[in-house]
């Protein structure tokens, strides 16, 4: 995908989206002179950057963060570890719906403070149902409520991901370790992927995120938690800035109940493999054929 066809698509998008939505979704790009440096606008697709070019981009983004947010951060570009393939499982018999995972995601990933944005949405569901669309997210009472169970939902990093297929500019793809990523500098904000995701896992940056400098997590990566520009899509990255360095995701560490299990699907001795082999796991909306890497189970 070269830049010329991406520009053509920016225009073509206007026809299908409707003028209002389109104006909004491309606002950051049409106003690039004000908001975006020329370098940023001309930056090549992530996959086409050499290591040296990437370094230049990373240092530029770090400088921009100092300028715009008043903090110095380190933006890295950790790559998939050879042979590693990530999977995540969540025990619904254990989860109590406390939202600590969503809060940890909010902090770890430098989400806009006022909107309480998070890549995790915890659904409160009536016992006996598994219909995602009936889950409530705004419950506000001590948990767990005995008549409900709780289902945190985040990006499932599908091996057959509908969101990737609908992206007109290849700004989102699956990496070798299974993590589905977004190049925020390439995304044109058309939001097709958001509509395509059956798990409602993608978010759109309507406004530039506001985070006080002292609250910014300085441990950042290009493809994950660096502060996203306005007008682009974002979503859970399995905390790749942590997990590609061997660490557990922030949501898992924050879970006070121990409901979450993360690890390498290729390692037969891993915790995640034990769960897949010994618990009756299921995936959401299996009939859609998305092949998620995020599994759920109840203790039998």
């Amino acid at each position: 995908m070269d830049n010329t066809s991406r520009r053509t698509l920016l225009k073509a998008g206007g026809a299908t989206l409707g003028a209002g939505a389109f104006a909004r979704s491309i606002a950051p790009i049409t106003e690039w002179t004000a908001d975006l440096s020329v370098d940023a606008f001309l930056q090549r697709h992530y996959k086409e950057l050499t290591r040296d070019e990437m370094d230049v981009v990373l240092r530029r983004l770090e400088a921009e963060t100092v300028e715009e947010y008043g903090v110095s951060v380190s933006i890295d570009d950790p790559r998939p570890t050879p042979g590693v393939s990530f999977g995540y499982a969540l025990n619904l018999s254990i989860c109590i719906g406390c939202r600590k995972c969503a809060e940890a995601c909010h902090v770890e990933n430098n989400h806009d403070r006022a909107t309480h944005n998070s890549y995790i949405r915890v659904l409160e569901m009536k016992k006996g149902t598994v219909d995602l669309e009936l889950g409530r997210v705004d419950y506000d009472h001590p948990v767990p409520d005995p008549d409900h169970f709780y289902m945190p939902v985040q990006c499932h990093h599908c091996d057959n991901a509908p969101c990737i297929k609908v992206c007109p500019v290849e700004a989102t793809w699956q990496e070798a370790d299974g993590i589905v990523v977004v190049d925020y500098n390439w995304c044109i904000g058309c939001r097709y992927c958001e509509a395509a995701c059956p798990y409602h896992a993608r978010r759109f940056n309507w406004a530039k995120p506001v985070v006080p400098p002292e609250e910014i997590n300085p441990d950042q990566a290009y493809l994950s938690n660096r502060v996203r520009p306005q007008g682009v899509m974002e979503k859970c990255t399995f905390c790749l800035h942590r997990t590609r360095n061997g660490r557990l995701p922030a949501c898992l560490e924050a879970c006070p109940t121990g409901a979450r299990v993360f690890g390498d699907l290729n390692d037969p001795d891993s915790e995640i493999r034990w769960v897949l082999a010994n618990k009756r796991v299921f995936v959401l909306k299996e009939d859609l054929g998305t092949r998620p890497r995020f599994f759920y189970y109840f203790d039998g």
Binding site: H45, T50, R79, K100, R203, F204, A207, G246, L252
Partner: protein
């Protein structure tokens, strides 16, 4: 000028950027289990001048042998068997199946735990105590699927800290307590969040409370 520059961009991929370095199979980092402070002492609700809570060692009152004074006083058959008979450990609530004190504490040596076959266990060795009656849960715990963890999924690259059963389950009243959830998620839709941006009527604001309520 712009178009010219754009046209100059050629697509090529740097293969060295595709994967990170392999991880060598060196020595494993340790997986440690957190040992709660409470094991082996009774809290007095008092603090020393440094603000450290003062705990009293069990042996202060309980002689470490079967003829211990407290023990002998309370019941000739080996002490009170239910929490209602307690006078000193008044606040103690036992709500754990139909167990009695002696199911877990060795009669005569309350500072020591015991297994069903009467083998003694150190207070810090509580997991083995729990494991004997909760086999399946312990099996899950051993495989990282119960009880949570912190640190590294890849123990070749760093250490891991596991929780102790009693970090989450008080042995006398193990039901996991209810809690108040943290903030509900916000609504990134500018209409919902009351942002100053004009939404120009595209995208309906979903009523909150459905899976789809947040954008």
């Amino acid at each position: 000028m712009l178009t010219l520059l754009l046209a100059c961009q050629t697509g090529f991929t740097d293969p060295s950027r595709e994967l990170g370095p392999p991880v060598s199979d060196g020595p494993q980092h340790p997986v440690e289990v957190h040992v709660p402070r409470s094991l082996g002492v009774v809290d007095t609700a008092l603090s020393d001048i440094h603000g450290t809570p003062i705990g009293v060692d069990c042996a202060t009152c309980h002689e470490p042998d079967a003829s211990g004074e407290v023990w002998a006083e309370s019941d000739s058959a080996g002490g009170p068997s239910s929490a209602t008979e307690l006078t000193f450990h008044r606040g103690l609530v036992l709500r754990h199946g139909d167990l009695s004190c002696a199911s877990c504490h060795a009669p005569g040596e309350p500072g020591t735990l015991r297994l069903a076959d009467d083998r003694r266990l150190d207070m810090a060795d509580t997991i083995r105590l729990c494991a004997q009656c909760h086999g399946p849960k312990f099996e899950s715990y051993r495989h990282g699927a119960h009880g949570g963890m912190n640190g590294y999924w890849d123990t070749r690259r760093g250490p891991r800290l596991r929780n102790h059963c009693v970090d989450c389950h008080a042995p006398h009243d193990p039901t996991y307590a209810q809690m108040v959830p943290t903030f509900p998620p916000g609504d990134r839709n500018p209409l919902g969040a009351g942002r100053s941006v004009d939404a120009s009527g595209h995208e309906p604001t979903h009523t909150n409370g459905t899976a789809d309520g947040q954008h």
